[in-house]
Symmetry: C2
Subunit: 169 residues, 2 copies
């Protein structure tokens, strides 16, 4: 299931990219400067949209890297435009695409050190399900919520995706 | 990993319950009627807080029930107070607590019918990772975002939890 979830992070990041495209069209139509949206927050001490996207990207890439023992690509959080944020998303989606199921053999029992808590670690299964996955979804959803809150015409299907592999019953 | 994720849904619902407790204290302190918060939305065509909590509860209970072939308890969405929402959360957390790993044997390849799309189904693995889990997190996170947006003093650690099972390196 690790590889399924890593692919799912890529899917949601791609969907978030689609929401950003809609945000640009909305800003042009009104019109207003789309950077206002990138700096929009739901509350003064929350991250703005741009930082929510960066944080979702980081959560996904570190979930994959730390659960597999691979090195994550570096992203210094310098994005200030939609195009740069979209390039950041593309870079992470590409990185996630390099993984296959074999990369996560033993992931559940691997000890994952916590950068924000020196000397401490989580068991891989706990890290992935209890920290990395909710951390990813908190930031990805809040990015989406900021767009909705500001009137961008996106809905839950844009976030979850329109391409679910349906089967006949 | 199904059982881990089902336990995780219960954890996040418990954390959301803690956020509701903080919301009540905040409303009493200001003071304002906490039902204003329950009816708060991030945008007119989004669910209010109460419905976000109900939807997160449903996503979690259906994820567990449909992936295991068990019957989910019924909840007719009649909650109008924080106490009733907290009881709803308790009921779902209790239900999630009845599952163990054996309940999810074969879950990945089970066909899960989609109520909103008659005649169609998803493979269990797709249902769980690509629909149920993001659906849960979208509603749980948006509930949290509505609280933050309205000034309730909660942070990401309240959402993800303060009780991660840390290990020494």
């Amino acid at each position: 299931m690790y590889i399924d979830q890593v692919k799912q992070f890529a899917t949601i990041l791609g969907n978030l990219d689609g929401c950003l495209v809609k945000a640009v069209a909305y800003a042009e139509r009104k019109p207003f400067d789309v950077s206002v949206l990138l700096n929009a927050r739901l509350f003064p001490d929350m991250f703005p949209l741009s930082r929510q996207v960066q944080a979702a990207c980081d959560a996904a890439k570190f979930a994959a890297a730390r659960s597999s023992g691979k090195e994550a690509p570096k992203h210094p959080d310098t994005e200030t435009t939609v195009d740069e944020l979209r390039a950041r998303i593309r870079s992470v989606v590409e990185f996630l695409g390099t993984f296959d199921a074999a990369d996560f053999e033993g992931a559940a029992t691997r000890l994952v050190p916590l950068g924000f808590f020196p000397g401490k670690a989580l068991l891989g299964a706990d890290y992935f399900t209890r920290l990395a996955t909710p951390n990813f979804y908190v930031h990805a959803t809040t990015a989406y919520d900021i767009l909705r809150h500001n009137g961008v015409d996106v809905g839950k299907a844009d976030f979850i995706g329109h391409q679910l592999p349906l089967r006949d019953l």
